[in-house]
């Protein structure tokens, strides 16, 4: 048995490391560790409930829009108000744009470097100006830094990387296409952020989210510009993103059987006018669909760095950090649903949508399965997660036009509010990386308790009170590791979850 430590896992949000036991060339055990803590909920106590919408966005700079919207829902429910039609549409459009931003960033800039050979650019002999620029740049970088002994390196941030003969795509054209799209995707994701800022006021950390909706009043120009941009993004999703995911799937089909997990949870997201969701709510565990019940959530802390009580519902949660706690190895808690670990995220949304017969999702998944010749089981995997993200982008691009059509130009996107002396509220929603819940209690007109249970806490949880490993830990078991000094295979699996550690260790609960 050999111990392999990957610290840090880069190209994710935040501080995460993984400790593996490798036996016979395969992962036999895994411990996933969240390595950062800030104490957001402790900070929220005693503040104006309206401040929570801004402060909780700072939990994560990659998915602040989700925190902003879910926080608004929690505050709205405590204030006894709902947003109006424009508020619903503008929230949907801001979140839609941030989903696109997050998924495109994840695939091209965070995950693809595990598959694409950047050095292939040196063999390029075509006429593409941008690729030739990158080629010249890499060449001159290597030239300028020849003979330097230490690792402060040439062609950073693309080199160094894990080195192994078979690790990267061998086909030159495929590599060049991927590098071209890596660059194009930088520009595309910036444009998706233009779309967020249009209604969010700025991004990351949308300033315009307030209790009851958004301060931004939509204009004709904004709607027109959003429409033009979404059409450009849609073109990229259909002609680059989806084909690229399929190309990686084709070259690395093993990853349809690696990184497996089979039990899922989703709160549902993108409010429709009739109260339903574009991506429906539900549980898929033990091969049957179940309806969701928020009272069944509890958080274990036996192996987390907290001395507070274990097994509490988030609305009653407590947090007392204890960095040196015996037997604890992560700042993440272990959320459980009816005692079970569940995976959250794009795959959970697609599986729940598919199994509940949602026609839009079913149609997309069926055509994916048809074009790859795979069965549904293959989706419960590393590549299934990447494919789910791409399909979500396609569905969202199509849907955005309809939301734009429904906007009432020049009309307020918020309802009015008064902050009560005492109240409680809950907000649920779906961040790009999965189920997100905020719980608030108000006393004397200020926040008495505030807690968040975030996607990566579900996925990246350490062992629970009964010693059961979290979804990411379980999914790593059986992964081959060809070279323990360059453990790229488990890194690929961890990245397929799109972990967000700032979210996961912002910390849960604080009531004393």
């Amino acid at each position: 048995m050999k111990k392999v430590l990957i610290d840090p896992i880069t190209r994710i949000e935040g501080h995460l490391s993984v400790e593996l036991e490798v036996e016979g060339g395969k992962v036999a055990a895994a411990h996933v560790r969240g390595d950062m803590f800030r104490g957001f909920e402790m900070i929220l106590r005693g503040r104006n409930p309206a401040d929570a919408i801004q402060i909780t966005q700072r939990i994560c700079g990659v998915c602040p829009i989700s925190h902003g919207i879910v926080s608004t829902r929690a505050v709205d429910s405590a204030l006894g108000i709902t947003t109006n039609s424009n508020g619903r549409l503008l929230r949907n459009l801001a979140l839609c744009a941030n989903y696109l931003q997050s998924h495109i960033l994840h695939f091209y800039h965070l995950a693809a470097p595990d598959y694409v050979d950047i050095t292939a650019v040196l063999k390029y002999s075509g006429n593409d100006e941008k690729i030739n620029y990158v080629k010249q740049w890499v060449q001159s970088e290597l030239e300028a830094k020849k003979g330097r002994k230490d690792a402060i390196t040439a062609a950073a941030p693309f080199l160094p990387r894990y080195e192994g003969k078979e690790f990267y795509i061998q086909d030159l054209d495929l590599n060049i296409a991927a590098i071209t799209h890596y660059l194009k995707a930088l520009e595309i994701r910036m444009k998706t952020h233009k779309m967020v800022a249009m209604f969010g006021g700025r991004v990351p950390h949308a300033i315009s989210f307030v209790p009851g909706g958004l301060a931004q009043v939509p204009s004709t120009e904004q709607v027109k510009e959003y429409r033009a941009l979404i059409s450009e993004i849609e073109d990229f999703v259909k002609n680059a993103y989806i084909p690229d995911v399929l190309a990686v799937a084709n070259a690395y089909s093993d990853y349809f059987s690696y990184g497996k997990f089979t039990d899922f949870l989703t709160y549902g997201e993108f409010d429709e006018q009739d109260g339903s969701f574009l991506f429906p709510q539900g549980i898929y565990a033990g091969e049957t669909g179940e309806s969701f019940d928020a009272s069944l959530i509890a958080e274990h802390v036996k192996h987390s760095r907290y001395k507070s009580s274990t097994g509490l519902h988030p609305s009653k949660g407590a947090t007392d950090p204890q960095p040196e706690k015996e037997g604890a190895y992560s700042w993440m808690k272990s959320p459980r649903y009816g005692g079970k670990p569940l995976e959250v995220g794009p795959l959970a949304r697609m599986v729940v949508g598919y199994t509940s017969g949602n026609p839009v999702i079913k149609n997309e998944i069926d055509s994916l399965l048809q074009s790859t010749g795979l069965g549904v089981d293959a989706l419960f995997s590393s590549l299934g997660r990447h494919a789910s993200r791409a399909l979500e982008c396609k569905i969202l691009c199509t849907k955005a036009y309809q939301w734009l059509d429904e906007i009432q130009i020049g009309a307020m996107a918020r309802s009015t509010y008064e902050i009560p002396q005492e109240s409680e509220g809950m907000g649920l929603g779906e961040a790009p990386r999965g189920a997100l819940g905020h719980w608030i209690a108000i006393k004397n007109g200020t926040i008495d308790n505030y807690q968040c249970v975030v996607p990566t806490t579900w996925n990246g949880a350490p062992r629970d009170d009964n010693g059961i490993a979290g979804p990411m830990e379980q999914s790593l078991i059986g992964t081959p590791v060809a070279d323990p000094d360059n453990p790229i295979e488990p890194a690929r699996i961890v990245r397929s979850f799109d972990p967000c550690i700032a979210c996961a260790v912002h910390v849960i609960g604080n009531s004393k």
Binding site: I12, R47, I55, E129, A151, R189, I207, E324
Partner: protein, 311 residues
């Protein structure tokens, strides 16, 4: 990105912050600047560390429009270590900064995003060296002491930000979160605050530092180029203030002062510069300024972000 890119004079002025830059960088300097920048950028490693951050500053940096982010990392700075972007993982990644420490290098620029916990190093660790979880504080001290320059980006790194927000019941903050300047008292830290900072502020400041020019700083260590005026001075709604037309509810016409806007007490050029190449601004969207570029954020006057003023 068009061919190998040297900055045109117009672009350079834009990058450095508009007309002020033309005065700060006379023509003769600008002529030599383009080549010098490319050369300096190649030779100056940048090590970008994340402490108690949300990565929002890095995400904002990715929104750089002119120059675009691909040009920034291939022509203007040499980004040797960045947790969210680097292709390297695990030991391959950690060795880059480990060797910078062990070889006593002193030719790099250290950029820090996020605050630094002081109560326990376990509140934020990066890498495990010989069984020791290495705290971000240790990295910042070791790399910061020899760095050619230290740039703190974002309000967490510059002044503590949200992780350093005061606990209302007891005072202090949960992890003893501190700014980079508090961790490196012997260094002049260049502060680029903002939650998030505008990409122009980060790129413009980094380019100056790469060129070995020290930006003129205000009393809080902020480059004057971007933080000289208040939000109020350049606000799109200044006329409303002068005419005493005040918004009563979010989204109303009028000056946002009575809704708790902190523009009068906050220095930055967002109403002029705007986000994402002119798409929107904080005050323009009707939301008011929450004072995120100030050392007091988020406890301005002990009141927090929003305080509605009656009447």
């Amino acid at each position: 990105m068009k061919g190998r890119r040297f900055l045109k004079r117009r672009e350079f002025i834009h990058l450095m912050g508009g007309f002020g830059a033309a005065l700060a960088f006379p023509n003769v300097l600008l002529q030599g600047c383009k080549k010098a920048l490319y050369k300096a950028g190649k030779q100056t490693p940048v090590i970008w560390l994340q402490g108690q951050s949300c990565s929002g500053c890095s995400v904002s940096l990715l929104n750089s429009i002119d120059p675009d982010i691909a040009s920034v990392i291939t022509a203007h700075i040499s980004l040797n270590f960045h947790q969210t972007i680097s292709f390297a993982t695990g030991d391959t990644a950690i060795n880059i900064i480990r060797q910078a420490v062990e070889n006593k290098r002193d030719d790099y620029i250290l950029v820090v995003e996020g605050s630094i916990p002081s109560k326990s190093d376990l509140y934020c660790t990066l890498g495990e060296i010989d069984g020791h979880h290495k705290g971000i504080r240790e990295w910042v001290e070791e790399l910061g002491s020899r760095a050619r320059a230290v740039v703190a980006v974002g309000t967490c790194a510059t002044y503590g930000g949200i992780p350093a927000a005061e606990l209302r019941a007891t005072g202090g903050n949960p992890t003893g979160a501190q700014s980079v300047a508090e961790i490196l008292p012997q260094k002049t830290v260049i502060n680029v605050p903002g939650c998030p900072p505008h990409p122009d502020w980060m790129v413009g400041t980094l380019v100056q530092v790469v060129l070995k020019r020290r930006p003129r700083l205000d009393e809080y260590g902020r480059p004057l180029l971007y933080f000289k005026d208040t939000v109020h001075d350049n606000c799109e709604r200044l006329q409303y203030y002068k005419q005493e037309v005040f918004a009563e509810k979010w989204g109303d016409e009028g000056c946002l002062y009575k809704l708790g806007c902190l523009g009068i007490d906050t220095n930055c050029d967002i109403p002029k510069r705007k986000w994402l190449g002119g798409v929107n601004s904080c005050t323009g969207s009707g939301s008011g300024c929450i004072g995120c570029t100030e050392p007091a954020f988020p406890d301005t006057g002990k009141r927090g972000l929003y305080e509605h003023k009656k009447g």
